[in-house]
């Protein structure tokens, strides 16, 4: 009977279904941001597994920007901020993208959030100034 206890126990609890590629996806964001179409495909694939990995999403947005897909980049930045609204660099990058796309008001709004998270930062202050100037010009 004692042997039975030894042989049968301990009981192992089951685990949530795993995805074979997710090890690589979990660590993908730990490396420098990839770019190029291949990288975009890999990032998009990973984001079906690691849906809340804001670094991956930000990397994807950056890759979209480099691939000249600003609409996708903007949507990806917005997706990252929906998960982590305090991601200062994403606010800054989105503000710069919006400014490039001519949306000075939203650019300024995101840059101001970035400045609250990174007070006094000169690059962000300059971005706000550029957005303000662009806004004034368009008016």
């Amino acid at each position: 009977v004692l042997a039975a206890f030894w042989l049968v126990l301990p009981i192992e609890l089951g685990m949530d279904p795993d995805v074979s590629s997710s090890d690589a996806c979990l660590t993908l964001a730990d490396r420098p941001p990839p770019h190029g179409e291949e990288a975009i495909a890999a990032l998009e694939r990973c984001l079906t597994v690691a849906t809340t990995d804001v670094e991956l999403i930000a990397d994807l947005a950056g890759a979209y920007e480099l691939a000249n897909r600003p609409g996708d980049a903007e949507a990806a930045y917005a997706r990252a901020l929906a998960i982590d609204p305090e991601y200062a660099d994403v606010h800054t990058r989105l503000a710069a993208l919006l400014l490039k796309r001519g949306d000075a008001a939203r650019a300024r709004s995101h840059a101001e959030i970035a400045l609250r998270l990174q007070p006094n930062r000169r690059a962000v202050q300059e971005l706000i100034a550029r957005a303000s100037a662009a806004g004034a010009q368009s008016q």
């Binding site: 009981i11 995805v19 660590t27 730990d30 670094e55 991601y87 998270l117 006094n120 930062r121």
Partner: protein, 814 residues
């Protein structure tokens, strides 16, 4: 009969005093426990015991000696008389020595304690030998060749399990006030686990009986084997549950626990052969039944159950509560089993066949195997994750500590890597027991000489939770002063302690880097803040009980007479105000370090309640409100004194605390978000404030504070590996990116490790004390959400923890 019970009572009282001496010796033997509990005089009662130890010793000695009067009179034979005389002389001599040379009061962590630990057990063991000598062979001759009937053992173990399960579930229901699906599922798990534990005990005891039956004298053989089992059980509980939580090495834990187990088993056996009534007829009843009759047994049953519930309720919010709860549950189970052996006398009938007796263990194993499947099916069917096995196991410690103990023995999560466990434990033992040697000496502090350094005021409130402060949680309405002060300060929103628990967290502030449990021995060589204080010629004021005794710089200790647990921020600030008022205006700049204990869990178990604290743990919130008031008043006064404008002020905590979340309290072994997320608010003088930028949402640590002060004072970083980063950089620079790094966090006291990834938004916890693991995403305030641990999460994070431990190893060559 009365004489026998008086002797037993005297012996137990004496043993309690000797055991208190032993416990003190054990505490001083562990450098960690000595620095944690003894040096800061955490428990004033303990200090009083040490001061009056010689008197306590004499009380114990006289009680023991008086209980030996019949033996000294020669009523139990010459051998007993000589042994008793030897006891009186030897331990009387020890008592005389103690009168002139107090021992406990002079004990410091070190080898002298290793003599006290076994020495304190000697009188108990000696008395046990005398008891056995006095009893002679009569108890064994009277009882012939009887052995314990398996059905009697089975009935008693099952009744014990059922009774304890009922008691635990009644308590849990009373605490929760609601019967819902998760509670029912937890109760079902607890029932099966309690029963499995009972049946495992029954199987072992039956095996002992069977082995004894093969011998020529079954009664004494079964009795002796059962005494050995008790010794092993106590030793294993000490070795596996209690001592690892106090950073004892495996060898020390095994030696200390074995000596303790053998002594307690001998003492109990000695008392039994003295006081057991002659009519007890089975070895187990003779050994374990603590009551003389069934009627007394019924009363004792109620007394033990009530006492255990009261004891558990009293310690539920205390640090180390889970260890105490498990210990209470195991002692309670043993006592109730003994009582049931008496209350349910063996029935004289033919014993069932071995095959039928095997049914119970087989049924227990089958039920235990089926439970996870049942849990998973019901969880899926009802879409309720709280019914899942992992969630049930999380609730077990507060629901039924005995079932939790069984679960830690028999339930594992699939793939919980044994190799990982062994590797981490081996590294931990090495880092806990071997004196570290820093490979990289501190670089000399060379700050700017162009401007006088600012005053620096550090307030590290022990156990202060960030979500009880309005700058971090808009639902908080009781910290208006902090709210106002935070508007002129930098509120780091994503700050963590690298270490759950004060013992490692506090030195990590001073060194600005990773530390190991042996930090105290090398502290002057790695202490970055002290170097800054000395080189920048600060007027150093402190109130702290963790690092202070390891400092070398001249300092003023505020309110040294107050025991550490009673240190109060409001009184500290009053004392500081008095100190600063006496200083000349041209005095050196101030460096103040205060570590008050207002919020420590030992201080927050009662107090004010009210509607303004709704949604918060009220006694804790009330104390936060008081701190807020004192801080507000102090800052106003500090401004009036003209010191504030040129001051760096840091408000933080060494760790958070669990305040009943999932039935958990305290912080000692927990790395849950509530325990490792901390407030970190930094106010800079105006001249510095406009020159720097930061990233308030970037993950930050206590170990960033020392490098931050170096940077703010114009000095190069202290230059140690694994050092923190300055929180501030010049305005034209980008704050260093940490989002793609991973950071190991660990408990100061036990084998719980964690990994923070993705800017602190992904937390994995490996609790090696309980063989449990947890994963959290910390995007949502206040404390994130729990997510399932997948194979990927486990693999990536366990590798990160291994890497983290390797880095610490490399930092300290040995």
């Amino acid at each position: 009969v009365i004489n026998r019970w008086i002797v037993a009572a005297a012996r137990l009282l004496a043993a309690a005093i000797f055991l208190a001496t032993w416990a003190y010796g054990v505490t001083t033997y562990s450098p960690f426990a000595f620095d944690m509990f003894i040096r800061p005089q955490l428990l004033p009662q303990l200090a009083a015991f040490v001061t009056w130890h010689h008197a306590w010793y004499w009380a114990a000695y006289l009680l023991a000696a008086l209980s030996l009067v019949p033996e000294l009179a020669g009523r139990h034979g010459a051998a007993t008389r000589w042994a008793s005389l030897a006891f009186v002389l030897v331990f009387g001599g020890v008592g005389l020595h103690l009168l002139s040379t107090p021992v406990l009061a002079t004990l410091t962590s070190g080898s002298r304690s290793s003599f006290i630990v076994p020495g304190a057990l000697l009188p108990i063991a000696f008395l046990a030998v005398i008891d056995h000598l006095a009893a002679g062979v009569a108890p064994w001759r009277e009882r012939g060749d009887v052995s314990s009937p398996p059905t009697h053992v089975l009935t008693a173990t099952i009744c014990t399990a059922a009774m304890l399960w009922l008691a635990h579930q009644t308590s849990a229901m009373a605490t929760l006030g609601v019967i819902d699906g998760p509670w029912l599922m937890t109760a079902a798990w607890a029932f099966v686990l309690d029963m499995t534990l009972a049946i495992a005990a029954y199987t072992i005891l039956t095996l002992v009986g069977a082995v004894a039956a093969l011998s020529r004298r079954p009664f004494i053989t079964e009795y002796a084997l059962s005494v050995a089992l008790i010794a092993i059980g106590i030793a294993e509980a000490g070795r596996r549950i209690i001592l690892p939580a106090f950073a004892f090495s495996a060898a020390d834990a095994a030696a200390i626990a074995s000596a303790f187990g053998v002594t307690i088993a001998m003492m109990w056996s000695g008392l039994r052969v003295r006081v057991s009534p002659a009519q007890t007829d089975t070895p187990l009843r003779f050994l374990l039944s603590p009551v003389p009759t069934r009627a007394v047994g019924m009363v004792a049953l109620v007394v033990v159950l009530v006492a255990a519930r009261l004891a558990t309720a009293a310690i539920v919010q205390v640090d180390w509560a889970s260890i105490l709860q498990t210990t209470i549950a195991l002692v309670e189970a043993t006592l109730i089993f003994g009582i049931f052996l008496e209350v349910l006398p063996p029935v004289a009938h033919r014993e069932p066949s071995a095959w039928r007796l095997m049914l119970a263990p087989v049924a227990a194993i089958a039920a235990l195997s089926a439970l996870p499947l049942l849990s998973a099916s019901l969880s899926r069917a009802t879409n309720n994750p709280l019914l899942d096995a992992a969630a049930v196991l999380d609730r077990l410690p507060s629901n039924d500590p005995l079932a939790h103990f069984a679960a830690t023995q028999w339930i594992e999560q699939e793939g919980f890597d044994l190799q990982f466990y062994q590797d981490v434990m081996a590294t931990e033992r090495r880092q806990s027991t071997v004196d570290p040697q820093p490979r990289h000496p501190l670089l000399p502090f060379a700050g700017s000489t162009t401007a006088p350094p600012p005053h620096i005021l550090f307030i590290v409130v022990d156990s202060l939770r960030r979500d009880y402060l309005s700058p971090y949680n808009p639902k908080v309405t009781f910290t208006p002063n902090l709210e106002q002060w935070s508007r002129e300060s930098f509120v780091f929103r994503n700050a963590f302690t690298p270490y759950g628990g004060t013992w490692l967290a506090m030195p990590s502030i001073w060194t600005g880097t990773a530390v190991t449990r042996g930090w105290a021995k090398i502290f002057p060589r790695i202490n970055a803040l002290e170097q800054l204080i000395t080189r920048a010629d600060y007027d150093f004021i402190i109130n702290d009980f963790t690092v202070e005794t390891n400092l070398e710089a001249p300092r003023t200790f505020l309110e040294r007479q107050i025991p550490s647990l009673d240190t109060d921020l409001c009184r500290n600030l009053d004392a500081l105000r008095a100190h600063t008022q006496q200083r000349p205006a041209t005095a050196r700049p101030l460096f103040v370090y205060l570590a008050p204990m207002n919020m420590h869990i030992l201080n927050t178990q009662g107090g004010a309640r009210g509607p303004r604290y709704e949604g918060f743990y009220e006694p804790y919130a009330a104390r936060v409100e008081r701190i807020d008031r004192c801080l507000g008043q102090f800052i106003a006064h500090y401004k009036e004194q003209g010191l504030y404008d040129n001051s760096i002020v840091v408000l933080t905590s060494d760790h958070g605390d669990l305040l009943g979340e999932d039935g958990r309290w305290g912080h000692q072994f927990h790395l849950f978000p509530e325990a490792i997320r901390i407030p970190m608010i930094v106010r800079l003088p105006e001249r510095l404030r406009t020159m720097v930028t930061t990233d308030l949402s970037r993950i930050s640590f206590l170990s960033d504070l020392a490098p931050t002060l170096y940077a703010l004072l114009g000095a190069a970083p202290p230059g140690q590996p694994l050092a923190g980063l300055p929180l501030f950089v010049p305005v034209d620079q980008a704050p260093a990116d940490r989002r793609r790094q991973e950071f190991m966090v660990m408990s100061s006291y036990g084998s719980t490790y964690g990994l923070l990834r993705r800017n602190g938004k992904a937390l994995y916890i490996a609790d090696l004390l309980n063989w449990r693991e947890h994963a959290y995403e910390l995007f949502t305030e206040p404390n994130g959400v729990r997510v399932p641990v997948t194979g990927s999460i486990r693999r990536v994070n366990q590798q990160g923890i291994r890497d983290g431990l390797d880095k610490v190893d490399r930092m300290f060559s040995r």
